[in-house]
């Protein structure tokens, strides 16, 4: 009785293909994720139950704990127009080259008078060193001029006022004092922008609250 010989097969699996897939996915995810815009100044935003995601193109007003205000413009196309508009409106005497140079800066955080020296500085000037746009009171609120520049620059574009209002974000530190916030509000209001948005960290609706019940009733129908 001869027994049939079962050939012994090796259990080695070729991992090359698997490895290829893994790294392909990895490179895809790395390239597909959008880089977070550089944060010039760090602020700890308060949290809210809002579920709306922040828009991609935005004009961000940052309010630090000390009450300093900074302006960041996400729309690169209009950025130069905005600076040019402020330049003509306040007759700052900036040349074209200077306007271009300022538009390349990630954040604006100096007073209007300091813009020209800033454009001619050779060394890097980080946002943390900047004094912030003066917006302490209603008599010397330069943020008003900046917002006016923004509204003028967008006036001729296809964006409606409502769209512009959706773009204006305020990111404030939770510990900033209320009057500092009021000054930013004043600057927006002065230019006819009555609606704006506050950047917050998301948190869940408290259990048992009305919003919680509403969300349970129609999970898809999030509040617009």
């Amino acid at each position: 009785m001869g027994r049939a010989k079962i050939p012994r097969k090796s259990t080695n699996i070729d991992m090359t293909a698997m490895c290829d897939v893994a790294f392909l996915l990895l490179s895809f995810f790395i390239l597909a994720t959008k880089q977070k815009p550089p944060e010039a100044v760090t602020v700890a935003a308060p949290s809210s139950v809002s579920t709306k995601a922040a828009p991609e193109k935005s004009i961000l007003i940052t309010l630090t704990k000390e009450g300093k205000t900074f302006l960041m413009m996400g729309d690169d196309i209009k950025k130069k127009d905005i600076i040019a508009a402020v330049n003509t409106a306040k007759s700052l005497g900036l040349s074209d080259a200077e306007v271009t140079k300022i538009s390349k800066m990630p954040v604006i955080g100096v007073s209007l008078g300091q813009l020209k020296p800033l454009a001619n500085r050779a060394d890097e000037f980080s946002a943390a060193q900047m004094p912030g746009i003066p917006a302490k009171d209603s008599t010397n609120n330069e943020l008003v001029d900046w917002i006016r520049g923004i509204t003028t620059a967008y006036a001729g574009s296809e964006l409606s006022l409502n769209d512009l209002q959706q773009m204006i974000l305020l990111k404030g530190d939770g510990d900033a004092l209320y009057p500092d916030f009021k000054n930013v509000k004043y600057a927006l209001k002065k230019n006819g922008l009555y609606k704006f948005r506050i950047v917050t960290n998301s948190e869940n609706a408290p259990v048992g609250s009305e919003l919680y019940k509403l969300n349970r009733e129609n999970p898809a129908g999030k509040k617009e």
Partner: protein
Amino acid sequence: MADIEIKTKKGKCATKAPAKKVIRVDLTPMVDLGFLLITFFVFTTTMAKATVMDIVTPVDAPPGNTVCNSCALTVLLDKDNAVYYYTGAFERVNLQKSGFAAIREVIQQRKQLLDSMGRDKSQFALIIKSSDSARFKNFVDITDEVTINNVKHYYIDELTAEEKEAMELLHN
């Protein structure tokens, strides 16, 4: 890990011919590493997502629409996360001290009261006033309560001198 397989020919000239080497690298740890990195990137990128909340500021115009007395709840924000509130028109005796944890309860009670009075619950209005020593966080929190409690109307207003005075008295 890396195997070098030496195929030995069985038979005659096993010792003479140069041995053919097949190099096979075990890629399993490499795959592990790849997937580990993928999971790392996936988790870290989805975490940092900021949300936005809408704020509507009132137009500086003579008040056109008035809120009924029993519908209005005025909330005053002050330093050290203190919250004061009163219903209807301002009277010094009406002012009560509260906190952020308790204010939700107050809002809900007012809404229910309105309901039991046979009035429309959506008529309820929250008036937010803030002192100069309140924090931005307090303002965001109270506006958040508006969303949480499904309040349809809210107004942002300035403190009057009387309110300031009464608040000072309660604080001490």
